[in-house]
Amino acid sequence: MVFRAVIDADVLKNSIEAISTLVDEATFKLSPGGISLKAVDPANVAMVSFELTSDAFDSYESTEGEIGLDLLKLVDVLGMADRSDNVGLELNETTHKLTITMRGLSYTLSLLDPSSIRKEPKVPSLDLPARVTLNGNELRRAVKAAEKVSDHMALGVDGDVFFMEAKGDTDQVRLELAKDELIHLEASGPARSLFSLDYLSDMSKALGKVNEITVCLGKDYPIKIDFMMADGKGKVGYLLAPRIESE
């Protein structure tokens, strides 16, 4: 198995952080066309999928294979890189380690055994009736507001309005965005589902940096949030299971 690549530190950091917000360790699939991953959080509640094509890298060479990585360590290591740095990645298959180089620094990171990492989740095909495209920062703002009153929030589409609401024991918050305030909205029916803010808040860390995110919703169905990164050469998708409303 060969894997040797050079990439812009900022792109790599954003990519890994978008994943590590949900999972601590994950198995990356390597192929000549790029790297990809699907991982589920320990509670089986949230999933992240990720793709980065080979042209997002300054140089890229890889055969088919997979490597397990401790993402928290990786994020930590990448913290040493400046935004403009280039980061070199090289797999040593015999020692089972990944060497990360940046401006003279060289880290050797032990790989994890992929069989010790949670298996890739089964994803049902979902037909979600509502689809909204908006600035990631709007969603982040809604999540922040909701956190002030509750630990869960509802997201939905009612006619031409995308709404988010949270009810606490005493207080409540509602945010509405009409079609003309959004980049795009289409819905074949009403949608409303409840979600845990713990997870939305983790996801919105990455979402807040993105100009355009696509949110798909249904009635008591999971939420799907997709966005592009690295000038369209990278793709991140989140899937979050809905919270069950207590009677």
Partner: protein, 442 residues
């Protein structure tokens, strides 16, 4: 009770038959028909109320398997929190709490079974908040939860009151044989039925029977009763034999293999070697022996930190072969091996703490202060007061201290405590008699 036993830790690359032949559906579960039916009914009724269930019973008889098989039968997703995860309050709240409140990727109607293995062993692994966190998760859950435990009454009363108990019992040996036959057939191993009978009678439960079968039969084409005799799982008593093998034997392979047959995990086993090496080795040998043992301990530490049980293998090699290789002098005579004194010391420290705490409670009640304050600030004064016998008797009578408590405050184990206790009790009796005389007429 850990589920990764020593035997399997040494052979990480092969598939465990216990895993390979784990029942996929409830109807494949061997034995425990009543419990399985109860479990099934619990699952079918689940939703009317959202009560959790506790499956309890001895290890290795299919409790965890039943939970997984149930989930499979019901089409439920599964998440498991077992003892090798860190089960602190925060992690339980985060993982089990989220899982219990949330639907699946199929929507809110999707069911997820939450399995909390070794639920009677939560104190040992995490802070005390762990149990409260579980209670909280169970109270609020919107998803089915199964707790698994060996000892029902080792769990707190609160926890028990929230769950429907289902008892699993040991499986009779003759119900295990058909399963072993099936495994042999599937693995292409010819067998004498006597061989299986021996395995079943020697093994303590279903899991160890399958493990033993695998250890003996793997790599063989034919299994006869003679093969079983050499490979059989030794029982607790024979840890002494293994030690003889290590300390007095000359073949490292024999020592290593002998340790495979033990049903003792390396974390405990290392204490046995640690305790007994000084009885056996002297001088240079002793130093070299401990050098090996300390390396084994380094591996155990890595296992704990990285949760990579494959490393147990190296710990095992260092503590058997390594320790054996350290010996340069001829072994001599009989050595009386002892169980690790560390365990005894830990046990004693625990009972001393219990005595101290009960004194603190009594003092606290009398002086209107907290137990903690009494323990930290007042007990030293009481120890001073107890130096005077008259004073000691008076206090003992007032607080109604037990003999152990008096001995603790006196810092002795001799009969002094007994005398003070007797005098104090006499004084209590007199006081009562006096009270009866005085107030008896009313």
């Amino acid at each position: 009770m850990t589920k990764v036993n020593l035997l399997m830790a040494y052979v990480p690359m092969m598939i465990e038959w216990t895993e390979k032949y784990r029942p996929r559906t409830l109807s494949d579960i061997v034995g425990n028909g009543k419990a399985v039916a109860e479990l099934k009914k619990w699952a079918e009724d689940w939703g009317v109320d959202k009560k959790a269930t506790i499956l309890y019973g001895p290890p290795g008889i299919g409790k965890t398997s039943a939970a997984y098989a149930l989930a499979n039968d019901m089409g439920w997703e599964v998440i498991e929190l077992n003892a090798s995860d860190q089960r602190t309050a925060a992690i339980i709240q985060k993982i089990a709490g989220s899982a219990a409140q949330t639907g699946t990727f199929e929507g809110v109607s999707g069911r997820r079974l939450i399995i909390l293995d070794e639920a009677d062993n939560i104190y040992g692994n995490a802070d005390r908040g762990g149990v409260n966190a579980i209670v909280d998760v169970i109270k609020k859950t919107n998803q089915p939860i199964v707790l698994i435990a060996n000892e029902y009454y080792d769990m707190s009363k609160t926890l028990r009151s929230l769950c429907k108990p289902i008892q699993f019992r040991s499986i009779q040996s003759r119900s295990i044989i058909p399963l072993l036959r099936r495994i042999c057939r599937d693995e292409g191993v010819d067998y004498d039925i006597e061989a299986l009978e021996v395995i079943v009678t020697k093994a303590s439960d279903l899991r160890s029977a399958i493990n033993d079968l695998q250890a003996i039969a793997q790599g063989r084409k034919k299994l006869s009763a003679e093969d079983v005799v050499i490979g059989i799982r030794d029982t607790k008593g024979s840890i002494f034999k293994v030690m003889t093998e290590i300390f007095k034997g000359s073949d490292p392979r024999e020592a290593l293999y002998a340790s495979y047959t033990l049903d003792e995990n390396p974390e405990d086993f290392i204490h046995w070697i640690d305790e007994n090496m000084p009885r056996e080795y002297k001088g240079e040998d002793l130093a070299n022996g401990f050098e090996s043992l300390s390396r084994a301990d380094v591996f155990l530490g890595r296992v704990r930190r990285r949760q990579n049980y494959g490393l147990w293998k190296h710990a095992g090699e260092m503590m058997t072969c390594g320790v054996q290789a350290a010996r340069s002098q001829e072994p001599h005579g009989y050595t009386p091996y002892q169980p690790p004194s560390l365990w005894k010391k830990l046990g004693q420290a625990k009972s001393v703490r219990a005595v101290r705490d009960s004194i603190a409670t009594k003092i606290g009640k009398h002086c209107h202060v907290s137990q903690r304050y009494a323990r930290a600030e007042l007990i030293p004064f009481f120890k001073m007061l107890f130096k005077k016998k008259e004073c000691a008797i008076g206090i003992s009578a007032t607080l109604d201290l037990s003999q152990n408590e008096i001995a603790f405050l006196l810092d002795t184990k001799d009969s002094g405590a007994q005398k003070i206790y007797d005098s104090a009790q006499k004084r209590i009796m007199l006081a009562e008699e006096h009270a009866i005389e005085t107030f008896g007429g009313f």
